[in-house]
Symmetry: C2
Subunit: 235 residues, 2 copies
């Protein structure tokens, strides 16, 4: 009974993928949502989602959506969250949703697609009731981010290539839901030696960038090397 071949598979399930795209505008963490134009959730917001064909690789739909919404393709950005089963029951049968998420810099978002799909970045605190079980998925993604950001410098993905320490601190405070002392925060980050001082100052045009602040970028190569030696970014 415990062995695979002694039961018969029930080939009547369909798979879908939802993609939780998390961005940051300098103040709030945000999720990309689309508006449904069909019953039974007409008018409701929901996560960008697609069905999978039976032979698709599990991440395929998520990658396709990502490609359509961003100006580049980097599979390492996308991570599977979980399978969610309490899904909308399609008249045709059971649908199971395999949710993925990615942390993105809003600078890379292609606005042309926005109009086409009536998509919008919605701040964490203003996410309404969503279609299907998408509130549950968003909640799960938030928790995943909170765990990840403590152990890995994933936060940098949410910022533009060049950022200020103020932006970085706001991001960490927002993500972890607490505040840090400015001086201690800076000391801690400098100690990692993962920040590259770009030796120039912000012009104040970037959102959340104060004019005159020093600009930094994240030393990804160095981090990759340190990771191999067992380094654990810790917050």
């Amino acid at each position: 009974m415990l062995q695979f071949p002694q039961e018969e598979p029930d080939f009547q399930v369909a798979l879908s993928t939802s993609l939780v795209l998390i961005g940051f505008d300098g103040v709030d963490l945000q999720v990309l949502l689309a508006r449904s134009t069909r019953a039974p959730f007409e008018g409701a917001l929901f996560l960008p989602s697609r069905y999978l064909n039976r032979d698709d690789e599990l991440m395929l739909s998520a990658r396709r959506m990502f490609e359509q919404l961003f100006s580049y393709d980097d599979p390492s950005m996308i991570e599977q969250l979980q399978a969610f089963g309490k899904v909308f029951r399609h008249p045709g049968g059971r649908v199971v949703n395999i949710a993925h998420y990615a942390l993105v810099s809003k600078d890379d978002f292609q606005a042309s697609q926005w109009d086409q799909h009536d998509m919008q970045w919605v701040p964490y605190s203003k996410i309404p009731d969503l279609a299907f079980d998408h509130n549950e998925i968003v909640q799960y993604a938030k928790e995943r981010l909170k765990r990840r950001v403590k152990r890995r410098p994933v936060g940098f993905r949410l910022l533009p290539e060049e950022f200020t320490l103020g932006q970085l601190q706001t991001l960490y405070e927002t993500t972890l839901g607490k505040t840090f002392d400015k001086r201690n925060f800076r000391k801690k980050l400098f100690k990692t030696t993962l920040l590259i001082d770009l030796e120039k100052n912000a012009d104040g045009k970037g959102s959340g960038q104060h004019k005159g602040s020093q600009l930094f970028s994240f030393n990804k190569d160095k981090y990759e090397k340190m990771k191999l030696e067992g380094y654990d970014f810790l917050f």
Copy 2:
């Protein structure tokens, strides 16, 4: 195109569940495996697995298997890992495996079921090539455990109700792959105030228990309360 209702679901996928049960014998971390009696993996070991019926709740199969193998039922023990897609391709179509895992005390394992299914506890270091993509699933479970054990006192689930500090230290050393100074380890654990001193000594019968060592149990209630107040067990 990004919206659910505008594509048609492909209701021809089947779901299966594999359950990674991790135990500890005082020396090694171990995984419970069964032996396949059918082609194409006849003779190979694999994870306890079952198909899901189309309307089953996603964790149902995992729970059923758990109930059959252990003397109690506690759904909070089981956690979903991920959906795995590179699965054995059944002649009938695509099968996607939603893997779960649970940390268990081998004391609670029902040996009667063992014989019936030719199941065996296999140490981490001796896991052979498994059927399907089960090596990948086991690997994922190992990493999940390693992450969890740093943040939450899940390790206690792997020990019997009453354990010695020696057992606990060996467990942490095995799980995290490093060694700790005995005195520092003890101080650290006492400081959590999560150990209950049972004020009696081991009789040396329990595996990994040295006769004469002090016995402790884990204060689960206290941990639950501390967790609510934001406490984070940290290793």
